[in-house]
Amino acid sequence: MTSSKNKQNKIQIARVISKNLLFRDSANELFDSINNSEAPEIVIDFNSVQSITRSFAHQYLINKEKSKKNIINVNIPPTIKTMFELIGKINQDLIC
């Protein structure tokens, strides 16, 4: 991820992590990188993501909620969206 104060940064999550989003730590590492960048707005592109665990989705939403950056999710495949919606419904404070 390149860093810029003015530009919106885009992260291809399948390339940065994997097509299969599995581990809580990977969600933490992703947001460490996002929160350390200078860009105020980050677009996370879920294109090519094939699967996600509940653990990754939960940790992702916790980090997204805590982050001061404006995080925009795009191209979320339907099966991945279902997991985010499920976690979001259970934890009302986590808004996808």
Binding site: N20, L22, R24, T53, F56
Partner: protein
């Protein structure tokens, strides 16, 4: 039913038998071993790693020997022709998902599709990273076309499920600890956690009609669609860590994980 009456339990006990002989003789003689299933090979791998002075006599069959090579020398052959679906998980390394990508792609069609297989492997492996404090961990999935099943094993030599609860001040016997993890989904970290193992077992036993076996320190479990049986493991057969293995009937199909995930 005793552990020895279940195919997975029998494989684990065979491994324990080999270990006991090796500890007495100072040599692990595998020359007569005709085949290894993950349930036997993985705890044997941990044993070989931990017993550094142990002499190992390789299996006579070179096809079987290559599995021992991976464990002893860390040799990975990822060429498609001779792909061996055994991965050592690094304790502290980024890109763990990338390491599992070919493993998941190679196996998923036979174990419920991409979503189900990667969910199970992901959640069970994540548990290892989150809770076990391991130094050695393996993931293996082997398809047996003639026997018409895939056997998957996930193992770590960490603090075990009972040890993980103990570290959080929760006092359970080893069997009680395994029951908590499997039936109640009690997490040592927070309420939203603790679903991984329980949901994975549900997908496996109800969705894929698989047999499952767990040994974690002094507690064992055999689980399928119809039964959930807990066992106290005999002292000689205790495993200091956690082994989860499963035999999934060979029926190409897609399982919708959302039918089994608790809402």
């Amino acid at each position: 039913m005793s552990l020895n009456e279940n195919d997975l339990g029998k494989e684990y006990l065979h491994c324990c038998h080999l270990k006991t002989i090796a500890l007495n003789a100072g040599t692990l003689d595998l020359s007569k071993e005709k085949w290894f299933f993950p349930t036997c090979l993985l705890p044997l791998g941990i044993f070989i790693k931990e017993q550094k002075d142990l002499q190992v006599i390789y299996p006579n069959d070179p096809k079987i020997s290559k599995y021992i090579n991976i464990i002893m020398k860390g040799e990975m052959d990822s060429t498609k022709k001779s792909y061996i679906p055994l991965i050592e998980m690094p304790p502290n390394e980024k890109l763990r998902e990338k390491l599992l990508e070919p493993f998941i792609s190679n196996q998923n069609a036979h174990v419920g599709g991409q979503n189900a297989f990667s969910y199970i492997i992901g959640e069970l492996t994540d548990n290892i990273y989150e809770h076990s404090k391991f130094s050695t961990a393996y993931v293996m999935a082997q398809r047996y076309k003639q026997l018409k099943f895939t056997e998957v094993g996930i193992i770590d030599n960490g603090i075990s499920i009972p040890g993980s609860y103990e570290n959080k001040g929760l006092k359970f016997s080893d069997i009680e600890a395994l029951k908590e993890a499997v039936q109640e989904g009690l997490s040592t970290k927070s309420d939203e956690r603790g679903y991984g193992l329980r949901t994975s077992l549900k997908i496996l036993t109800q969705g894929l009609e698989a047999d499952c076996f767990i040994v974690s320190r002094g507690a064992g479990l055999i689980m399928n669609k119809f039964n959930t049986l807990f066992y106290e493991i005999e002292k000689n057969n205790i495993f200091n860590g956690t082994l989860i293995s499963t035999r999934i009937p060979y029926k190409p199909r897609n399982v919708n994980i959302y039918d089994f995930i608790e809402k």
